[in-house]
């Protein structure tokens, strides 16, 4: 296994992504967790870039880092309170819970890894030609075969936006 520059780059991106993800699980302060979460999304975007899907990578950054992460930070700030902001990590079985969670996650990873590694058909080299995602082709693909889903996604997004705003704007009852 000889590492090329591109291979090194992949490992770097993967480590960045996974590391940031681990940080999210461990950092106690929600704002920081959100920020490392954003970093994790940046890493995913880099992986997309590395795989040749530049357009998707940029979309990933725009949507996740630009919009979702900012939204999350806002919400965290909006819900911050002395008595409620912190997590209730205590309890009699807190350790058990953490162990359980970790155990499940690791077990799942083990199972997935076993499945991935056990399947010979997945042992594929990357094609020689660097693949470039043509945005024009993507556009054609979208308007040629996927118009109804596209419209639906548009509708879903709009409805979600309107719904989100409506939910967030619900007036507080005067007596509440």
């Amino acid at each position: 296994m000889n590492l090329t520059a591109s291979g090194l780059l992949f490992f770097a991106f993967a480590v960045l992504t996974l590391g940031a993800g681990t940080a999210v699980a461990l950092v106690r302060e929600p704002v920081r967790a959100a920020l490392v979460g954003a970093l994790c999304f940046v890493g995913v975007g880099l992986l997309y870039l590395w795989l040749g899907a530049e357009f998707l990578g940029f979309i990933q950054w725009l949507v996740y880092v630009g919009a979702v992460a900012v939204l999350i930070v806002f919400v965290i700030l909006l819900t911050r309170r002395e008595d409620a902001g912190g997590e209730t990590e205590g309890g009699r079985f807190a350790g058990l819970r953490v162990l359980g969670g970790l155990g499940v996650a690791l077990a799942l990873f083990g199972a997935l890894a076993a499945a991935v590694l056990g399947s010979g058909s997945l042992y594929r080299e990357v094609p020689e030609e660097p693949m470039v995602l043509e945005i024009a082709a993507l556009g054609r693909e979208l308007v040629a075969g996927a118009v109804p889903p596209l419209i639906l996604v548009g509708v879903v997004l709009t409805v979600a936006l309107v719904g989100g705003v409506t939910l967030a704007l619900v007036e507080r009852k005067p007596d509440a």
Partner: protein, 103 residues
């Protein structure tokens, strides 16, 4: 060289990481981040299979990922709005403390 297996291992790891976030954290917002991480891992799978696929000319994987991102964004928006609402009502965003979570 980087094989498909390797990419898939990374995405599996990312998925399990997302799961771990959801399972370990007790803050609904962070749990939401975990969910997004899991979705990103799934998207990574799509892209990987597209990249290493037999028919790179077909853009199905990319298109799917695109839609997935869009839906995930919508989900995040609604989810966050709900969290905000829940917070206003119960003054907490710990799912374990919500009265509805008990019987």
């Amino acid at each position: 060289m980087i094989t498909l297996q390797l990419v898939l291992l990374v995405s599996s790891a990312l998925f399990c990481l997302g799961l771990a976030i959801v399972l370990l954290r007790r803050n609904a917002i962070i749990m939401l981040i975990g969910i997004e991480v899991m979705l990103a891992a799934a998207n990574l799978n799509f892209i990987a299979f597209w990249r290493y696929g037999a028919e790179p000319g077909s853009l199905t994987g990319v298109v799917f990922a695109l839609f997935s991102i869009a839906v995930a964004a919508a989900e995040a928006a609604v989810g966050l709005a709900l969290i905000l609402l829940v917070y206003r009502h119960f003054r907490t965003i710990d799912p374990g403390r919500l009265p509805v979570a008990h019987d």
